[in-house]
């Protein structure tokens, strides 16, 4: 999918932070290189990249005995891309999607201040059949963490797994670092 030299450019973190009552596992740092790869996959349709992102061995360990929950996603994007991003990243693990957005807001297009209002937009689906926990909340990129904390407020999970953490989030939560790079 990518050559060994390019693979070396991925900044591996494999760190655990304790934030908002849960342990957050961050696999990579979200840098321009990873951003470009994710864009090439999600928006340009390079599906060959999909298996690249998740370290399944690490994830299997972190997700043991847990029900996986995904954040709310956009139906329009799903239709345009032809796939659900979170399901594709975490394949073959089964993901439940018990959240939805009350308005079509794309976090990445919002200011940092607006992102923090996301808790007013994300709601829990009332008739969604969800197995009993414990739960692991998963996502692709954690920028401000607002989406994930809003989800945690609605359905408490003791663990979170993100593919990549934004450097600013990592720096802001450096005091919450529980386990440094494994």
């Amino acid at each position: 999918m990518i050559c060994p030299d390019c693979r070396q450019q991925l900044i591996v973190r494999k760190e655990i932070y304790h934030v908002h009552g849960a342990d957050w596992f961050v696999l990579y740092e979200y840098d321009p290189f990873l951003e470009r790869l994710l864009f090439q996959w999600k928006e340009q349709g390079d599906v060959a990249l999909a298996p690249l992102f998740l370290d399944r061995r690490v994830f299997r360990k972190w997700s043991r005995d847990r029900i996986l929950l995904g954040p709310p996603s956009s139906a329009e994007k799903r239709m345009a891309r032809g796939f659900e991003t979170i399901s594709a990243i975490y394949e073959p693990f089964e993901i439940y999607f018990p959240f939805y957005k009350t308005s079509a807001v794309k976090q990445s297009k919002q200011s940092a201040a607006a992102r923090r209002q996301i808790d007013q937009i994300i709601q829990k689906k009332t008739l969604y059949p969800l197995p009993k926990g414990p739960y692991l909340l998963v996502d692709d990129v954690c920028t401000t963490g607002s989406t994930l904390t809003a989800c945690l407020d609605l359905i408490p999970a003791d663990r979170v797994f993100v593919l990549a953490g934004h450097p600013l989030w990592l720096e802001t939560h450096s005091q919450n670092l529980v386990v440094k790079r494994q």
């Binding site: 090439q40 340009q44 349709g45 390079d46 599906v47 060959a48």
Partner: protein
């Protein structure tokens, strides 16, 4: 033939209709549909999917360039020769010395094609130069809508005359009757098969290549008659192109020479060094700013140097092209370093003597020994002067 062998045959014979990629390793499958990964950066194109021609406006534009100066005799000759070959249906390589005014030599051809209602594009590798060329073309053709298409300027992609980076040519398949490709020997276009394919696909007519340093591919093509060569080696002020003095000495002596030179000269001085690390310590020694690819405020530094806010600037080959500073003197440190190819040295010393007010200047190549690139640079520049 069983299914597996048939599949293998189909797999091996796949071809991308945009970038002409035929390497099976560069194709991937998505639910039974094969697509090309080599040019996916431009957008995904599935195998077998035709590339739709760009839908651009066309109208007859009988324009003449507005210039407050005339072309020199050599420029007029080169311009006429190029147009003659283009009319005959040939691609043309305009082999022009640095500072010879090759952009002006394209105006006659541009006018001819626009008058016939044909589509013209001026493409160049570097984004900054796109904006500069766009401004110049707009001043030459004030009645035309001349647009720039490059990073940050992609809202409008059609105009009477399009100036773009070579990357942006992917937007224009089968669009142009005349494609002017400037600096074809420069990064990232040079040696990039993907960009070359996309550029070739954008043109349905003739291509006019511009460069002061043709590589072996172009030389062979010209020799084989696949394209016509037009030479322009005289600068508008009629002074010869500066040929660098080669001074062979150990590195420590080169440093002393540079210090002494800077001490004894008041004119602006550009000191080219091989690496970013060299930039930093050399600039520290000379107590002056430096520019390399990692410098954050490159544009501001260059502008300040042009405005004579400081008179010494250390830089890497990043500035080998596109910078024009009146009366600049150029020194190259460690000229035998691999980063200084003959093309690079020709471009670097081409910074000297570009203006009418200062048609000459010092061009000095300091090196531990004169390697093939240094010798080739001197040979080519001398040949250009002899030709004139």
């Amino acid at each position: 033939m069983n299914g597996h062998r048939l599949f293998s045959c189909v797999y091996l014979f796949m071809k991308c209709l945009r970038c002409q990629n035929e390497d099976p390793r560069l194709f991937a499958q998505d639910h039974g549909v094969w697509y090309c990964r080599r040019c996916i950066g431009f957008s995904r194109l599935d195998v077998g999917m035709p590339v739709q021609p760009a839908n651009l406006s066309r109208r007859k534009l009988p324009v003449r360039p507005v210039m407050n100066y005339s072309l020199t005799e050599h420029q007029a000759q080169a311009s006429a020769q190029a147009l003659s070959h283009l009319k005959a249906g040939y691609d043309v390589f305009m082999y022009a010395a640095t500072g010879a005014g090759k952009t002006e030599c394209t105006l006659e051809s541009i006018c001819y094609y626009l008058k016939a209602g044909k589509k013209v594009c001026f493409a160049i590798s570097r984004r900054q130069v796109v904006l500069e060329i766009r401004a110049r073309m707009q001043s030459f053709f004030p009645d035309l809508n001349v647009i720039a298409v490059c990073q940050g300027y992609t809202d409008v992609t059609d105009g009477d005359l399009i100036v773009c980076t070579t990357h942006q040519l992917y937007r224009y398949p089968y669009a142009f009757d005349l494609l002017i490709l400037d600096e074809v020997d420069a990064f990232p276009y040079a040696g990039n098969a993907l960009l070359e394919s996309i550029a070739a696909q954008s043109c349905i007519g003739q291509i006019l290549y511009l460069s002061a340093t043709p590589d072996e591919t172009f030389r062979k093509a010209m020799k084989a008659g696949k394209m016509k060569e037009v030479c322009l080696f005289e600068r508008p002020h009629h002074h010869p192109i500066p040929v660098p003095q080669i001074k062979q000495m150990p590195a420590w002596m080169q440093v002393l020479f540079i210090l002494s030179f800077c001490h004894h000269h008041t004119e602006p001085i550009l000191v080219f060094v091989p690496t970013k690390a060299d930039c930093i310590w050399m600039a520290g020694l000379l107590r002056c700013p430096y520019i390399h690819s990692g410098t954050e405020n490159k544009d501001e530094q260059m502008e300040a140097f042009r405005d004579h806010q400081f008179s010494r600037l250390v830089c890497t080959t990043l500035l080998e092209r596109g910078i024009t500073v009146a009366n600049v003197q150029v020194l190259v440190y460690q000229g035998q370093h691999a980063v200084f190819t003959s093309a690079s040295l020709i471009q670097i010393f081409g910074r000297v003597g570009r203006s009418f007010d200062a048609p000459q200047g010092e061009a000095i190549c300091l090196c531990r020994y004169a390697d093939d690139s240094v010798k080739d640079c001197v040979r080519q520049l001398q040949q250009m002067n002899d030709y004139v």
